[in-house]
């Protein structure tokens, strides 16, 4: 009994195993990107050097966080689904639709600032949630796979957005810009430049750190609490690991699907708001698309863990914000960054599997050591437990 705790994998070993995968993925992606650069006639080392020095300038770092914020929200939305084996590809449609509706509502409301912002955020979450629920309800009542239904809902939501924008455009006296009306100042998210500047120099080049990063951090914390510290979160995870065992333990599979889709969609509804409330103050042509799909990659990279996703989102944000410098100096095409992202995901998925096997093996070994340590009968093959059927000859 006293020896048992000694068989548990030591903390440093578990940490090494946890970090091994992402580090290996990064190294591999740098290696492959280098090969690509050499083949295309560029020298990788000055390119990386330039990316690094540019990437860690204050303004670029602000860019990185601004890019990471929507990626993080999108990845958390996807991860909630992943936790119960639901593949919510529909974050794309959910956030686009939620953004335009939230922007529209924001422009038409006139409320005191904190309340105005809160209402906009809730409208975005509700829209995303309801849109995702369509897929959830279809799955529960009609058995339609969520991948199919969310892909279709993506197409529908993009068409809906176009229809809404054209209606806007149709209004006379409006400019030819296809945009929703401008959100009044009370509905804009204050920036965080003042906070950063408390610690460093003034942020230049007109860069602004969007305040929505606070919302993303809160969502990340709530996600962690929900999944790791509440019973519904446990039910969700249990259903994802083994739906039949979860069902026998009293978890209703249908209910869990509905809840997971609703929560995933609610977080998905936030993805477009950082730029709507922090930069554009409207939904318009410069709105960033494909964040829903990027979120799938980031969730994968972060293994659905709130901290892991944050690292993944920041890495992707860094690559995106540091890449333009490559074109400026002509060291390499900035698209090399897309290759790196692809390889990172690819390598991460593989190395995670390898590391997980390794961990399982080590745990199993530790467990059997625990058995061997204090179990005399465990020595296999000892004929001590012979019964009458052993002695009966097998003719």
């Amino acid at each position: 009994m006293s020896t048992r705790s000694a068989h548990r994998l030591p903390a440093h070993r578990r940490l090494t195993l946890a970090l091994a995968a992402p580090i290996a993925a990064l190294i591999l992606s740098l290696a492959v990107a280098s090969i690509a650069l050499v083949l295309s006639g560029s020298n990788p080392f000055p390119a990386y050097g330039r990316m690094f020095s540019y990437g860690f300038e204050l303004e670029t770092l602000v860019d990185m966080v601004n890019r990471a914020t929507p990626l993080y929200l999108s990845a958390v939305a996807v991860a909630i689904g992943f936790r119960m084996n639901l593949f919510n590809i529909g974050v794309e449609g959910q956030y686009i639709l939620a953004s335009i509706i939230a922007a529209q509502v924001a422009a038409e409301l006139s409320l005191p600032a904190p309340l105005h912002l809160t209402v906009i955020i809730l409208v975005g979450m509700a829209t995303g949630s309801l849109w995702a629920l369509i897929a959830g309800v279809l799955k529960v009542t009609r058995g339609i796979h969520e991948v199919i239904s969310t892909i279709m809902l993506n197409a529908i939501s993009i068409s809906l957005v176009v229809a809404m924008l054209f209606r806007q455009w149709d209004v006379p006296d409006e400019s030819l810009n296809q945009e929703t009306a401008e959100i009044p100042p009370s509905g804009r998210m204050p920036d965080l430049n003042w906070f950063v500047e408390l610690f460093t120099r003034e942020i230049g080049k007109g860069r602004v750190l969007w305040g929505f990063v606070i919302v993303a951090i809160i969502i990340g914390i709530l996600y962690w609490i929900y999944v790791a510290r509440t019973r519904p979160g446990y039910d969700l995870r249990a259903s994802g690991i083994n739906p039949l065992a979860a069902e026998a333990s009293g978890v209703s599979p249908r209910r869990t699907i509905i809840v997971a889709m609703a929560l995933s969609g609610a977080v998905g509804g936030l993805v477009g708001l950082p730029e709507v409330l922090g930069r554009d103050y409207a939904y318009g042509l410069q709105f960033t698309q494909n964040l829903g799909f990027a979120g799938i990659a980031v969730a994968l990279l972060g293994q659905n863990h709130p901290g892991g996703i944050a690292i993944g989102a920041l890495v992707f944000g860094f690559l995106d914000s540091a890449a333009p410098i490559l074109d400026v100096h002509g060291d390499a095409p900035q698209e090399i960054v897309e290759i790196m992202k692809g390889i990172i995901i690819f390598a991460a998925v593989i190395t995670y599997v390898v590391v997980q096997r390794r961990r399982q093996d080590e745990e199993a070994r530790a467990a059997s050591l625990a058995m061997a340590g204090d179990e005399p009968e465990a020595a296999p093959g000892t004929p001590s437990d012979a019964t009458e059927s052993d002695t009966r000859p097998a003719t």
Partner: protein
């Protein structure tokens, strides 16, 4: 040729000597011996989990044996893969067919062993000639140009058999070949098997249907709990003997039993009928009651409606008619969660399928089914990992789960320890009613004894137990009353103090009429 026959007459086609195969916590094969004569149909029968499939996988080179020898026609062999087995003339037809649906029968047969002509091209003419020769010679009727997706099950099976013969197998292993067939297809298969044997093939045939085994086999070897129990000739045994050999005839220690049953009825089931996923009525109007302090054994061979019955009791499956009462309250409309929280404990028939979250740590497994209760959570909402861990530690100590600690993932544990964990997590929450389905299946003798002891003690403390099992020792040794479930109905109520394993086995396999006749004689 005559020389060869002379040699074969003395040398068995195949013999396995003292084959032992261990999996973590399970002794799947324990010094199994098997001797198959040239040209015979040798049936291997035994219950699920008796070690038949493991033995065949060892023989076919898919699993290495830990100990023992395999001798083919007098030569010891060491197979590393099915390829080696095939090279030695041993071929296997799996229970689940392995055919490419969109290829034709001929393409499937030669797949991976294509005769090639000049320039590496497949010589279809040659292939067709050889396959036709084979199918004619053995009377295996197939349409060579038909895509496999258009074939019925019987014909697919013939394709699989020809596939193996085409690769030169002289010893065929058929893994439960009749399980997928309808009766007239079974007859045809048996005809084919006899034809093949007449032409010198040797067949090892795995089955657990007694009538089929007795009809077709020349020799029968019975496995039970990983051991060779007996090798018999079909004309020497009756179906009853065979059933008894299969399910076990060891007399359980018939301790002087005093009833601890109380008057309060814990579980009452009234006229319950349940449909399976295909809407067939698999439970037909079962009524029963289990009182506090009583273990009611539900004896039956698998597939007689037990699983669906248990699922209906838990609320996982909605019954088509009937009522379920727990401690007098009608719980028919309750959700699974309400029932579990009302104190129904559940030990699932398959711990991996319905019981465990394998990649999750033990403490999360321990709370599975009790996640809304203290000390696993507060107010039914906030998880309390600290409390859950210490409760799990308590469980580990009380039920002797061999593990480094509560943070180890469940898959790291051996089968017996996983089972002890499941039983412990139910018992430590002191249920009112325990539904235990095959609680000791596939675990070693030591763990089995521990489980039995646990159930025994709980009964004395007033727990009501519905024990669903097919293990005669377990049923007779533990139950206060025995009910036999056969084809969805309770076919007999027996007294475990007086019933013999032979009688119980006969009731379970539906051969009960014979037993009564025998007793009258």
């Amino acid at each position: 040729m005559p020389q060869e026959v002379g040699r074969n007459a003395m040398t068995p086609a195949l013999s396995l000597e003292n084959i032992t195969k261990r999996f973590p916590g399970v002794l799947a094969n324990d010094r199994v011996n098997l001797t198959v004569a040239e040209g015979e149909i040798h049936a291997i029968c035994g219950e699920n989990g008796a070690g038949k499939s493991t033995l065949m996988n060892v023989l076919y080179g898919m699993l290495p044996a830990d100990e023992g020898r395999i001798v083919v026609r007098g030569d010891e062999v060491h197979f590393r893969s099915p390829r080696d087995a095939l090279a030695a003339g041993i071929g296997m037809v799996h229970q689940h067919f392995m055919l490419a649906d969109n290829l034709t029968v001929l393409e499937n047969i030669i797949l991976g062993a294509e005769p090639t002509g000049r320039g590496g091209r497949i010589d279809f003419a040659n292939a067709r000639r050889r396959v036709t020769e084979l199918s004619d010679a053995y009377g295996l009727d197939v349409h060579l140009d038909e895509p496999v997706e258009n074939l019925g099950v019987g014909e697919r099976q013939r394709v699989e058999i020809i596939k193996v013969l085409y690769r030169g197998a002289r010893i065929l292993i058929l893994d439960e070949p009749t399980s997928v067939l309808v009766p007239h297809e079974v007859e045809e298969l048996f005809r084919n098997m006899r034809d093949m044997c007449a032409r010198g093939e040797t067949i090892v045939f795995i089955d657990h249907k007694l009538d089929e085994v007795l009809e077709i086999a020349d020799t029968i070897t019975v496995l039970r709990a990983g051991r060779t129990v007996a090798t018999v000739k079909p004309d020497e045994v009756s179906p009853r003997d065979l059933a008894e050999l299969m399910v076990g005839s060891e007399l359980p220690t018939p301790e002087a039993r005093t009833t601890t049953a109380q008057d309060t009825v814990s579980l009452e089931v009234e006229d319950l009928s349940v449909l399976d996923d295909d809407e067939r009525e698999v439970v037909k109007g079962i009524s029963l009651e289990v009182r506090r302090g009583e273990i009611v054994g539900m004896a039956g061979v698998e597939g007689n409606g037990q699983i669906e019955f248990v699922e209906a009791l838990l609320g996982i499956r909605e019954p088509s008619q009937g009522r379920v009462l727990l401690e007098g309250a009608d719980i028919s409309e309750w959700t699974v969660r309400q029932r579990r929280e009302a104190g129904i404990g559940y030990i699932p028939e398959d711990r991996h399928r319905r019981g465990l979250l394998l990649p999750a740590p033990l403490w999360e497994n321990a709370m599975c089914g009790h996640q809304g209760k203290e000390p696993y959570s507060r107010k039914g909402f906030w998880l309390t990992p600290k409390g859950a861990r210490s409760k799990t530690r308590e469980l580990i100590a009380a039920f002797d789960v061999r593990t480094p600690g509560p943070d180890v993932a469940a898959h790291a544990l051996s089968g017996g320890n996983q089972q002890k964990l499941i039983i412990g997590r139910e018992m430590i929450m002191t249920p009112n009613l325990l539904i235990a389905a095959h609680p000791t299946r596939g675990i070693d003798v030591g763990a089995q004894a521990a489980v039995w002891e646990t159930l025994h003690q709980a009964r004395e403390q007033g727990l009501a137990v519905l024990l669903v099992s097919a293990d005669l020792d377990e049923l007779i040794g533990l139950s206060d009353r025995l009910l036999v479930i056969f084809r969805g109905r309770i076919s007999a109520a027996l007294d475990p103090a007086t019933v013999t394993p032979r009688e119980l086995g006969a009731h379970m396999t539906g051969a009960a009429g014979d037993v009564e006749e025998m007793q009258h004689a």
